[in-house]
Subunit: 358 residues, 2 copies
């Protein structure tokens, strides 16, 4: 089984990852402790590496950091939102300094996008991050292309890295992607540099597809005498067609935080559900919410109230509500959330611009 | 035939390089025009790529640049002096902006030297450069580790580079050295960035062992729409034992600009000459100056007066002077030069420190 951070395949069997790659389950106790976060409470964050060590360190009031980032190749979609909300939650919960990398060099390496193309998207992305609630006073927000620390760490790590290691982790890729891996390792290690108070526990909340980067970074961090970074992993959010991972590579299957109410409605109408072949059948057997992308939208993103979510599920499986009506209600809920978010985002734009100007 | 920029082999047959790698001879006319430089006048600079295009551009009063650098892994030796003097000459002759890179990241990649080790050497090296006469008002002197432009160009070039290309040029090397190659390409292309007035002809005066870097850089510059850099190549200076190339990898065979008079004397006493087996034989047959490292020291570095140099040669080949006496005179000449240089260097130290502090 392979995990490919540059692809958009869905993971079929999550459990296999634990045995094959040595991931750790999130223990019940920790899930309870972190239950304010929908992602932890609902098991969407389902695996980790050494997150317990991070928590222990934070509990001892040691300095800790949370690190993640975005490739500014498009506007925020729901996957970027998930990572951002996790950073924001961990920043607050553990008084962790947040590092947020705008990976413009990776956008070039992976997508061939020049700085002129990614610069406005970067501002847009950071405005989303701020609107979602990041405390920028306890944060370092930066572009890779403007961060000497990170670029130099990539250069230093190169000496400790063999091509065989990279090929084993990623398959045969071009040199640009290999260098992007080294640079991302630099992003993850940066919070341990002297100017940020030196070695410390850093947690990286990401999608499970990013685990190869974490394995690589832990390897090179160990060689260079840094604390091994911790990580938490969330499940993939499916594309609206129910098939591939929701990904910027599949724009038609994506909700972005900038979609107009009308566009959201259109996308939802076409979204894959767990509806039956006929109304009669659905009334009799109930819908299959486990298959339903619209249900998943509520579970992951737009229904924070567990009781409400349970009601959605019940109404579906008892055949009380048909997909059309259900979708109409969810569109309303989603659009209300997006409207409020857009207002917060608009207010955050000048700050985002300022944070990224140098 | 292979050229290895990281080794210390001597090139046995320079002529082969022209046919195999497409180097160009320096035409008589250009040698005459540039005869103020000992290196051009005496054919020590023996080959180039597109140097004529650079000259043509400079003659049209277009903006041009000269670029080279040093790996701050030791103090200046005679090889570093040669490159520095070429930069200084070309800067002055063509009113070219000089770019001088202190390749501290390469010192790590190639020699494992940390910034703390290379930082004081960097200051020392730049003081030598200034003492030799660089006009720092028309120059950009920088460390790789502090230059976003260069580090980002390395990242951008990675996308346009295949591992096969690097392996064909350099053989199988570690990723650190490959990245050093990309970074050096960044150094060479930097003068063409917008902040320095955009695309232009840049000449890179280096030792012939650096040609693979130039071939690589010309390839990637073409792909990215920059003007192909020009280059000039000097012959290797042999180590004092007469065998390997003078190189920091062979410290016993090196003269550095910091050697004490006594150390210079000791090194010269042991240096390889063209002396015969016996005094009698040498008086009868004359010495073989073509083999003599001490003669080469004068030719390359310490005897700028062609008439004087001709006399050294004549006295040798007519058996008029024995190696012991000859060495004693040359030691005097070298030490006088080094003494004057040391004084200039001392004066230049504060400026060097200032130029490299940020």
């Amino acid at each position: 089984m392979e995990i490919n951070p540059w692809g958009n395949e869905l993971i079929k069997d999550y459990e296999e990852l634990f045995t094959e790659f040595g991931l750790q389950h999130v223990p019940e106790e920790l899930r309870k402790r972190l239950s304010e976060s929908r992602y932890f409470r609902r098991g969407i964050v389902f695996a980790h590496r050494d997150f317990d060590a991070f928590v222990k360190s934070a509990d001892k009031k040691e300095k800790v950091a949370v690190m993640s980032g975005i490739k500014p190749s498009s506007r925020f979609h729901l996957g970027s939102k998930m990572t951002a909300e996790e950073i924001i939650f961990l920043q607050k919960k553990f008084k962790a300094k947040a590092f947020y990398c705008v990976a413009d060099n990776e956008a070039y390496a992976d997508n061939g996008m020049a700085y002129e193309e990614t610069a406005p998207l970067a501002v847009d992305n950071v405005a989303d991050l701020l609107a979602l609630g990041l405390d920028e006073k306890n944060a370092v927000i930066y572009k890779q292309s403007e961060c000497l620390n990170v670029l130099n760490l990539a250069q230093l790590f190169a000496r400790r890295t063999t091509l065989n290691t990279l090929e084993a982790l990623y398959g045969h890729q071009n040199l640009g992607l290999y260098l992007a891996v080294l640079t991302q390792a630099g992003d993850i290690v940066q919070p341990q540099l002297g100017e940020f108070g030196g070695k410390k526990h850093v947690v990286v909340p990401v999608g499970i597809d990013q685990d190869p980067h974490l394995r690589f970074t832990r390897d090179v961090a160990a060689k260079c005498g840094y604390v091994l970074p911790s990580s938490t992993y969330h499940r993939f959010f499916r594309a609206l067609n129910g098939e591939t991972k929701m990904s910027k590579r599949e724009p038609m299957g994506i909700l972005t935080l900038n979609d107009s109410p009308e566009l959201v409605r259109k996308k939802l109408v076409r979204a894959f559900t767990g509806g039956r072949a006929t109304v009669e059948e659905q009334k009799r057997l109930g819908g299959e919410w486990r298959k339903c992308v619209v249900y998943e939208l509520m579970l992951f993103h737009f229904e924070d109230d567990d009781a409400e979510l349970a009601k959605v599920k019940r109404d579906c499986e008892t055949g009380k509500i048909m997909c059309g009506e259900c979708k109409a209600r969810r569109v309303e809920k989603i659009n209300a959330w997006l409207k409020a978010h857009r207002e917060r985002r608009k207010k955050a734009m000048p700050k985002a611009e300022k944070l990224l100007s140098r």
